[in-house]
Structure formats: C-alpha cells, structure tokens
Amino acid sequence: MMLAKPTLLSRPQVRPAASRPRAVIVRASGQPAVDLNKKVEDAVKEAEEACAKGTSADCAVAWDTVEELSAAVSHKKDAVKSDLTLSDPLEAFCKDAPDADECRVYED
C-alpha cells in the first residue's frame, strides 16, 4: 500500500510525450561558418596580391573586404554564443518540447 502510492503520484497527470507525436525540426544553423572562414582566407590572399601589384586604392578596398568578412564571422559567433537555444543542448531541446519533464517551468 505504502509502496504503490508514490509510484502513482510520480506519474505526471498529463503525458504529452507519449500521446502526442513530436515533430523533429532540423535547423541549418552554424553551417555557413565553414563557408565564411574559407571566404575570409580567400579575401586575405586576394588582399595580399592586390597590395603587391595593384594601386594603393585597390589595396585598401581589398583589406576593407577582409575586415567586413571578419566582422561578419565574429558577429555570427557572438549570436550563437548569446542565443541559449543554440549553445545549450537542454535549452535547444526545450524549445521544441516545452512540456517534457525536464523543461516544464511553472511561474508559481
């Protein structure tokens, strides 16, 4: 008697995990970072060439492109770092399944 009761209580009243089909969402975040890094490397190479034989204006424009791409890469990285649903696996899971046991939060 005393044993049966806690097991009953520990069961959640609503069991959405079992009763509801859960959609799997595949996101393509973080993919372009690889592409961007390559782009930055190419831009650096191009800029070094432009400075070696081009005019000083060409040189400045080429380095400006490098700067723009580097800034874009670091902004992307910051965005991933500051977005908990991308950097924290539990937060990412809870975004798609807010009513799972480990995700439920009641305000009071």
Partner: protein, 375 residues
C-alpha cells in the same frame, strides 16, 4: 522554456465588439504620445558596437531579435522599445561595386545619404519604411525589409553624423573612440585565434583602411554628445591591451542630459578606491574626474584605469558617482551583473557603456515628458 497557458476564452459577438473598441481607443492614445527618439552610435568595425548595443537595449528590457520570418542575414534588431538599424544597409555600392570604383566602405561615395535621411526622417515621424539590407556575407544589397516606427530608434554604423541632415535628426550622439594600439590588440583577439590571419595581415588591414578612417569617420567625434575613449593603461606596462584606460567624455550644457560626476561637480579629482576599505588585486583601479575641452567645447571627463575582479568594487565606485541617471541605488552594478558575460564587463568600457545606456533612457524620458507637457 514555456509556461502553461490557460485556453483562450471563446470570443462572443459581445466581447469582439468591445475588443475592437478597446483596440481603437488604445490606438488613439498611442498616436497622441508616440514620439520616436533617435539615437546615433558611431564607431569603426570591430570596436564593440554590437556589445554596446546589447548593453543599451538590455536597459529597456526584452531581448532584441532580428525581424521574424525575414531575411536571415538582416542586420536589424528589434525589441519592444528599441529598433537598431545598421547603417551599412545604406551602402549605395555593393562589395563588387566598391571594388570597381576603388573606394572602401568608409568612403562617403559608397553611402546613399539621401535615402538614409529620408528613411530616418520618416521613422522619426512615425511612418514605416522599406529599408534595403546589405548582406555582410555575400556583399550584395538584398531585397528591402519593412521597418515600423519604434519608440526608440538607434542608428549605428560608420557615418551616423557625417551628413548634416541626418545629424540634425538625432536626439543623442555617441562615439566609440578606440586608440590604434587597442584596436590592434582587439583585432588580434578577434581574428588571429582561428582564421588565416597573421600579425602582418592585421597590421596591413589597419594601415590600409587608416587614411579613409582618418578622413571620414574620425572627424565625426567632435559632434558627439558623449564619447567613450579607450586607451592603453598607465598603471602597468602592457602591450597586449589587457588593461584599459577608459574615458567618458560628456558635453556640458545639454538640455537632454547632465554629465556624471565624482564627489564634487566641476573639481579635478584623482581617486584610488583601493585601500583599507577595499582590497584590489594587481594593478588596481584609478579613477579621474575633471573639466576639459574637446575640440573647443566644454566637457566633463570621467576616467577609469585598470580593472575590477569582484562586484563589491563596482558598487563601491558606483556609490561615489552622482548624476548617473540610475533609478535606484545599485542599478549600474545590477545591469553589469545581468550582462556579466559580455566583453568589457570587468573594466571601464562596460561601466561607461552602461552609464551611456542610462543616459539614453533619460534622454528618452525627458523628450517624452516635454511632449506631454506641451500637449
């Protein structure tokens, strides 16, 4: 994470009518008091504009997000109170266009100031605009996005005060002035860690962009209301840019805000907070406050050199500052603690950025109050 929500009550004809009426009523109220306050932030790329933006928007609450469902490479950030627009969106030449014309993104020839003026003016007057998007990844100008007029509009980028017409629309102007040594150190941190950048390439990049920077970007700082200047420390020899001397330069005599002061307004004070009441680790903290001139204009300067390791140190410093525009004792410290993961949270950059954010809030409140009194 999500909280459980009660099911929405079914709308009856009665409630729909009253909801309609309520919506109409609130719309009128909003139209009467809605006034967009426009803030400008100028800085070179890689100087902490985005950190500043995150600190500033955090003061107004809510998390700024890119416009929902739009271009994934949009530069705009929208929260309940603020909309942040990146002025790169007003490039009139895309990356290839600049290459052909032989101009950098710093040059005024690469910006469409007419469009910038028209759209900022429209947003200030409460009208929505279709703003182009400059895609930093592809270097192309993408299809425009719709921007609604927000309570606070922030325009950030290289040229917010370059064009006189745009500059006159701004209610508050902030400039981030990073000295060459520190810029170099920060770019090493940003670029050298994982990309194909050598020391030489970072040096070359700064050198190549410098003539345009000095000609078009740097002169804007003399028009700013507040300048955050970041210099190498004077406490210890440091060539890595690890410790910073940060100066907050505030214009005197503005109707919109009052400068912060340390102990006594208008005096010149040098203060080392470390001692019997406060233990600091190496190299400690040194504060300075005093009057100065900035391109022939009267300013007050507040300076912090060094860095703090513990929160007690910041609350101790904060309790000796006056006119910070904080609403309660400890608000600056609390704000800094909320964003403790951001770069600069343990030195003067974070402190002065937070103070700037509080000043922006005060500017907004003063403009709104004046408007209500006038009406």
């Amino acid at each position: 994470m999500q909280t459980m929500r009660a099911p929405a009550p079914r709308a009856t004809a009665q409630s729909r009518v009253s909801a309609n009426r309520a919506a109409r009523r609130s719309l009128v109220v909003q139209a009467a008091k809605d006034k967009t306050v426009v803030i400008g932030l100028a800085a070179d790329s890689g100087c902490g504009k985005s950190t500043f933006m995150r600190r500033m928007t955090s003061i107004f609450g809510g998390v700024p997000k890119p416009p929902a469902g739009g271009n994934p490479d949009s530069n705009t950030l929208i929260s309940d109170m603020t909309t942040v627009i990146c002025l790169d969106d007003y490039h009139c030449l895309d990356r290839n266009g600049r290459k052909v014309a032989g101009v950098t993104a710093l040059a005024p020839e690469a910006q469409n100031f007419d469009l910038m003026y028209n759209q900022v003016k429209a947003l200030k007057e409460g009208k929505p605009v279709d703003k182009p998007i400059y895609n930093h990844v592809t270097g192309l100008l993408d299809a425009p996005e719709k921007i609604e007029s927000p309570p606070i509009l922030v325009i950030e980028g290289l040229h917010p005060f370059y064009d006189k017409r745009v500059s006159e629309l701004l209610d508050f102007k902030i400039y981030l002035d990073i000295s060459d040594d520190i810029k170099f150190a920060w770019k090493i941190q940003r670029d050298m860690a994982e990309r194909g950048h050598s020391l030489e390439s970072i040096k070359a990049s700064i050198e190549a962009r410098k003539p345009d920077f000095d000609a078009y970007i740097d002169p804007q700082k003399k028009d700013a209301d507040m300048i955050i200047q970041v210099l190498p420390t004077q406490l210890v020899p440091d060539d890595k840019g690890q410790y910073l001397r940060v100066r907050l330069i505030m214009k005197e005599g503005s109707k919109m805000f009052d400068p912060v002061y340390l102990f006594d307004e208008g005096s010149t004070i040098s203060w080392i907070p470390c001692g019997r009441k406060l233990t600091c680790s190496f190299p400690g903290i040194k504060m300075f406050y005093g009057p100065d001139t900035w391109y022939g204009q009267e300013v007050s300067v507040l300076e912090m050199d060094g860095q703090f390791d513990k929160l007690e140190e910041l609350i101790y410093v904060e309790s000796h500052l006056s006119n910070t525009s904080a609403k309660f004792y400890g608000e600056i410290t609390q704000q800094m603690l909320k964003n403790s993961g951001f770069p600069g949270s343990n030195n003067g950059t974070g402190l002065f950025q937070t103070i700037c954010g509080l000043k922006v809030r005060e500017v907004y409140e003063r403009i709104l109050k004046k408007d209500v009194v006038a009406a």
